[in-house]
């Protein structure tokens, strides 16, 4: 598969080529027959420097697995991940330390991701300690600066408190501070707002947008919420059963979706206006698991527009339909 080249002139920070991750699953407990769950299957995309790419899809579509592969919390079955032109798979030893400074992750659940026995200072300073950055005083200053940046001010009021003393929103701010304190150039954010209440969520979303401006960070923003993705991301990639089915400019994806799955997904998002009657999402059946999937289009069984030729044809590849808008569908 050739990579989309529309963005070649730009500074690419992350390049993912034909990335796949298969997990062995037991079909039946007794037979011992092995099957493969194609969690991520032949996924390719790029993120430019300073850009936010949203990875959107339903639960089980492989978006979190993709994020974990990029930060090397899981090893790919095949494919390559290049961050600033270094192959993530080749990093060893000392290189790993440098990699962890460059690439960080923000997790979904701020109640699980902070060690309850560490103070806020210890939590935020830990990446600095581990990487041996600065003297103790310098670290202190950096932690304070970071807490200020994420809106935990004055830092002195938070430094020696424990996670259980903070609210969900404040915890998520601590988790963000911890990820950003080593000044990464690339951050994978895995649904950082989905566990939070509405009034708190907006604050975190605005913070993410602000930090991107201030620190020039590029994000891969993983979410199931298209409205959030539209608000925060420059481009959106829609995933279905381990594959990207559509990728393009946020407004294009939301306003002019092309792939039948994206169309259904967008029409299913509830709207905060009782006067609007949403059309019924055009989709058949329910979501399945990509266990040893047939080589045809993954969406075939649920597709309202499928034609008989789709059943015979191979899995469609992403094609540019103009302006960097990529769609994987035979019917275009």
């Amino acid at each position: 598969m050739t990579l989309p080249t529309a963005t070649e002139s730009k500074d690419v920070i992350l390049e993912v080529c034909n990335l796949s991750k298969y997990y062995p699953v037991n079909q039946s407990f007794f037979s011992g027959k092995k099957a493969l769950l194609h969690a991520v299957d032949n996924v390719s995309f790029q993120v430019n420097r300073g850009e936010v790419l949203g990875l959107v899809g339903e639960s089980g579509c492989g978006k979190t697995t993709t994020g974990r592969l990029i930060v090397r919390l899981a090893t790919p079955t095949s494919g390559r991940i290049l961050i600033e032109n270094t192959d993530v798979a080749d990093i060893k030893g000392q290189g790993m330390m440098e990699f962890r400074q460059k690439v960080q992750m923000i997790f979904q659940d701020p109640y699980e991701s902070l060690d309850p026995r560490m103070t806020i200072f210890d939590i935020v300073a830990e990446p600095l300690n581990v990487n041996g950055i600065g003297t103790f005083e310098e670290r202190e200053a950096q932690v304070e600066e970071m807490l200020n940046l994420v809106g935990l001010a004055p830092p002195s009021a938070f430094l020696f408190r424990f996670p259980h003393e903070l609210s969900g929103g404040q915890r998520q701010r601590v988790a963000i501070a911890r990820a950003l304190v080593v000044r990464p150039s690339f951050v994978v954010a895995d649904e950082p707002t989905s566990m939070l209440d509405v009034s708190i969520r907006t604050g975190i979303m605005k913070l993410m947008a602000q930090l991107r401006e201030d620190l020039g960070i590029s994000y891969l923003y993983i979410t199931h919420d298209l409205a959030v993705a539209r608000y925060l991301c420059d481009r959106i990639a829609v995933m279905y059963l381990g594959q990207i089915v559509e990728l393009g400019d946020s407004e294009d994806i939301v306003k002019k979706p092309v792939h039948p799955y994206t169309k259904a997904l967008i029409s299913a998002v509830p709207v905060p206006d009782p006067a609007i009657e949403r059309p019924i999402p055009n989709i058949k059946g329910g979501v399945s698991k990509p266990i040893d999937p047939k080589p045809r289009c993954r969406f075939y069984d649920r597709c309202p527009e499928s034609e008989s030729s789709c059943a015979e044809a191979k899995n469609p590849e992403l094609r540019d339909i103009g302006g960097g808008h990529l769609v994987a569908c035979h019917l275009l």
Partner: protein, 345 residues
């Protein structure tokens, strides 16, 4: 229209080691037959406590401080336990939060619903109950062959449907749905919402729908109630509340979340955090976070009053929306002293 349910000045506190948590404070509303009420608010604002009060399923440390709940004219808290048991499920049924976990894993789904029917209507035979479950399954869109399957063989959306079928099993006149779609993906959520709406209209059932999601509430409710820190701040016809929110909290809540429709707009942030209900703020409970707050707001709690027909409000300083003037503009222009004279304030 006939009033089915009426809450009068309901005040309920929980006793904890740290003191009394003022979970529901002076909530009053009534619900007509066939009407659906959406209760929206953040976690911990008392939505689920209201549902539990109506079901009389409150934990041992809860105490009804004052007020009463009238269901079909009967005071629920004057009934004996046995009388309430009769009422529960036959008259008022509930779809619980995390419905995924409210099915028993060791019984087949069909049997669990049959059990619910037979328990509440002892005169119904097992065969008759089975037939009824078949038609319920048809109503909620599960193939009836799946009746004898176990919960683990169901997908998330199907379990949710099964739980809805169970709530409908005894033809209740009121259903309380507590965040029934929160854990589901949007496409499944959309299907469930449409099904609930269809069924409700078909059998003219009343519903209280609880959610933290303003958009979902907009889609399912005739009447919307906005809760904050144990208080009802605003309640009125959905169209009215969504078009002309009067309480600043309602306005902020509606504009705090991005939409996939229209132009990308700037989001409203609500500063601060929800209060601790052990020691809620004096006056209006929202005033420390409210941009519109005046001195009065911190001193006296606003009264719950009807401002236009069916539209109730508790606020000293309601938003006045004039045509061609957005709330934002008004906010920056007024500096906190515009009082809506049209409301006789």
């Amino acid at each position: 229209m006939d009033t089915l349910l009426r809450l009068e000045d309901l005040t309920m506190h929980y006793k904890t080691k740290a003191g009394w948590v003022q979970a529901i404070d002076g909530v009053s509303f009534s619900l007509d037959k066939g009407q659906s009420l959406g209760l929206v608010g953040e976690s911990g604002c008392g939505k689920t406590s209201i549902a539990m009060s109506i079901m009389r399923l409150l934990p041992y440390n809860a105490q009804l401080v004052k007020g009463r709940i009238l269901f079909g004219g009967r005071n629920l808290y004057a009934l004996s336990d046995e009388e309430v048991r009769q009422l529960r499920w036959k008259e008022v049924a509930m779809i619980f939060q995390a419905a995924m976990n409210s099915l028993n894993p060791v019984y087949s789904v069909g049997n669990q619903i049959i059990e619910a029917i037979v328990t509440h209507e002892p005169e119904t035979g097992e065969d008759e109950a089975r037939e009824r479950v078949e038609s319920l399954f048809e109503l909620v869109g599960i193939p009836k062959e799946r009746m004898d399957h176990y919960p683990h063989e169901y997908s998330g959306g199907m379990k949710q449907r099964a739980v809805i079928a169970m709530a409908l099993a005894c033809n209740p006149s009121l259903i309380i749905a507590d965040e029934p779609t929160t854990a589901l993906d949007v496409i499944v959520q959309d299907k469930i919402l449409r099904e609930i709406e269809d069924i409700r209209r078909k059998i003219n059932m009343s519903m209280i729908y609880i959610s933290h999601d303003v958009s979902v509430i907009a889609e399912v409710s005739d009447v919307v109630g906005v809760m904050y820190a144990g208080k009802l701040l605003e309640l009125g016809p959905a169209d009215d509340v969504f078009k002309r929110p009067k309480n600043p909290y309602t306005y902020s809540l509606m504009h705090a979340y991005p939409s996939i429709l229209g132009e990308k707009h700037d989001l409203v942030t609500i500063p601060g955090e929800p209060p601790n209900l052990l020691d809620p703020p004096t006056g209006c409970r929202f005033h420390p976070r409210c941009d519109w707050a005046t001195k009065e707001c911190g001193e006296t709690a606003p009264l719950w009053r009807e401002i236009t027909e069916g539209h109730y409000l508790a606020c000293h300083n309601p938003i006045r929306t004039k045509q061609g003037k957005s709330c934002k503009q008004q906010k920056t222009a007024k500096g906190g002293d515009v009082i809506d004279t049209s409301d006789g304030n």
